[in-house]
Symmetry: C2
Subunit: 416 residues, 2 copies
């Protein structure tokens, strides 16, 4: 993409109504647009980041047998009354509206009940199990406050997966597979070392659930962490009893601020019973399906990645998440410079390297400031100086100094 | 995908609560799940079809300079009051809800106002124009009735594009380009010959707008059509005056039932004035931006394609839209048959041919019925009979008879 054609503009002004650093930077760099507190639209650069994250998650969910689908946002009262989760007194984050005939409808804050209701039409025999489905869907949650930028939205994108299993063993097998898949996702996103499987409340279903918590000052959670044992305990359930039960010791645990990037729940057969979700086993007997639920906050992850990697100059993206791999700038209007830049731009594109080519006729300082703010991993500059020294100026976003390198060397580095 | 692992099941029963053939077939074949009237979830096969259509549209929108983004579903009252389209008396299809603090919010039935509001932050100079953006977004429309299956939903996916131009000429240039792009889209979807640029009401903005209407008995519209001149007039604006103005003659026009698959609007500067959307021209003067809006109903197109192509045996998909290119079935449990099928399945996948491999242990008649219902373009059967004759039974979904062909010949046909 030529930057002169990219419609979004950067801004030097920190948005006055945003306290969250992630939202400030994403707005200033033109990745997102704020519609209202906790509600953001994703502009081309932001959409590209979201899609890159989704693709990594998709590959890992497919690898463990997940089948992708997409559920509706509109939800029927009938479905959610089966588990007593329609009432605003029990679930206080519903957005609700009404059909013309007066029938109340909900906007999905979760799809658990709707997925089960749908799956009942397709699963009836032990031969149909296990079955695991997932989606990337927009959730609407009527949060009282929304002040963490894209890390807690009233409207946000979540990957939610649901497992249907024959019995506790088959469930446990998939549950463990999904833990491994989640670790692979966070590792591919560059936060593997800082993301910990965390024991958390199991809610109405089991004693514990598991969360994936990433160390993050701006996060809304806190956990007690053993880096050695690679396990953490959510502050919510941190008692002597729990610490004992997990075979941990209080003094090996440190309290750290974290952001929850994933969670997995074992529903056991509780929801199946509430919703009458049964299959027939080999002996012809009716059995309740064992259910699990597995979430990853896609847009929240964008916020976490910003908070983790951004520096004082702006955004910094891991290479596989960045909207472009290379930021290419020409400095000066001499035809030799412009031509060389244009040739390199076309050459890199022909090699399937995604390039943001800054062809704007603006001051070099402004170009560099925008490049830093935008956070593209590699910066390549073509100027009289670089050409005089026989090449291209190359600098990684995370490094302090640029070097002049030849075209061959450049290609080699970008191919990595 | 092995069909034994695909969680969706086909059904012989026509859903009692669906009068629309498209929804009946899509539900029976497991492509969609009905949540309520006019609200459908898209299961793996349905999602694949939707994504295939979106990819064709995306390629054509990118080719004319469209930049993809995604706007939020939640809409603020303030934005829509600027054009007097917040009131339920003026726009009677809003779904509305309330934040915890009592602030009313809307669920987007369109994104015109929200897009303009956002674009105002990024476009200010003549150098920034033209700029054209688009998205694939879920629209929520509180329709009084919804009885045309996925052809008219209360929740549906639309591609909506918006053009911002310097002046009427620049606008007209993009408007014409978008007409050509739309023709390419419908042609790639296999309905090019049956889809006509149609003169329709311009609403509050201009005398006429343009629609793309596809001949379709189940459609909700009717047009007067000249097949020779490749133009149509929507029944809504069909008067002697209009016919004259377009240089047509009443007796060269036939009335046909149609489905609207696309529409394009020239807003001129009316909306820019209402929303104060201006740029500074080369002379330093403030000017209103010229706006256009360009829609394609993605999920409606699924319905139209079903209505156009399905036959009495079930769905029929154009090859580039189908969720799988090949339906492969093994008949019989002899190891030679199973092994040959498995090898072919793996070989085709290695060639990037998308295969639904029916490895289920069920009667041949049931396999064939499912294959017909599902509508995959090519059916390949491996049986004792086919192997005895030295090959594979090959049949296109649209053809009456199967032939036995060799593996080499099969590969050649599938490569087409």
């Amino acid at each position: 993409m030529r930057q002169s054609q990219l419609f979004t503009k950067t801004s030097k002004n920190v948005p006055a109504d945003e306290t969250a650093r992630n939202a400030q930077l994403l707005i200033q760099a033109g990745y997102v647009h704020k519609e209202m507190a906790g509600v953001y639209s994703y502009l081309p650069l932001g959409l590209a980041v979201a899609e890159n994250i989704k693709q990594i998650v998709r590959e890992e969910m497919n690898a463990i047998g997940g089948q992708e689908l997409i559920m509706s946002s509109l939800q029927s009262r009938e479905t959610w009354e089966k588990t007593d989760r329609w009432s605003d007194e029990i679930v206080d984050i519903w957005f609700k509206s009404k059909l013309k005939n007066g029938t109340e409808v909900g906007l999905a804050w979760s799809h658990e009940e709707a997925i089960i209701q749908m799956m009942k039409n397709h699963l009836s025999s032990y031969k149909d199990l296990p079955a695991n489905v997932y989606q990337f869907q927009t959730k609407l949650r009527n949060e009282l406050r929304a002040k963490s930028g894209v890390m807690r939205g009233r409207e946000f994108v979540m990957k939610d997966m649901y497992s249907c299993s024959l019995d506790a063993d088959q469930h446990e097998d998939f549950y463990q597979k999904s833990i491994e898949a989640y670790h692979r996702v966070f590792s591919r996103l560059g936060i593997g070392e800082e993301t910990f499987l965390t024991v958390a409340s199991g809610g109405a279903f089991t004693e514990f659930s598991h969360e994936f918590q990433t160390i993050c000052e701006a996060g809304e959670d806190a956990v007690y962490l053993s880096r050695d044992k690679k396990i953490a305990v959510n502050e919510e359930v941190f008692t002597d009893e729990v610490v004992d039960k997990l075979g941990l010791k209080r003094d090996e645990l440190e309290r750290v601020k974290t952001a929850e990037v994933g969670n997995i729940f074992n529903f056991d057969t509780i929801k199946s019973k509430e919703m009458d979700f049964k299959y027939t086993n080999e002996a012809g007997e009716s059995q309740f399906v064992h259910l699990g639920s597995y979430g990853i906050g896609i847009t929240r992850l964008i916020g976490v990645l910003v908070e983790k990697f951004a520096d004082k100059k702006g955004l910094v993206w891991p290479a596989n998440i960045a909207p472009y791999q290379v930021y290419l700038a020409s400095l000066g209007i001499e035809s030799k410079i412009i031509e060389t830049a244009k040739e390199l731009y076309e050459f890199l594109q022909s090699k399937n390297i995604n390039v943001l080519y800054d062809d704007r006729d603006i001051r070099p300082g402004q170009k560099f400031a925008d490049a830093d703010l935008t956070g593209i991993p590699c910066r390549v500059v073509i100027s009289e100086k670089s050409l005089g020294k026989g090449g291209f100026e190359f600098q990684k976003r995370t490094e302090e100094n640029a070097e002049i390198i030849t075209k061959d060397e450049l290609i080699k580095r970008l191919a990595k």
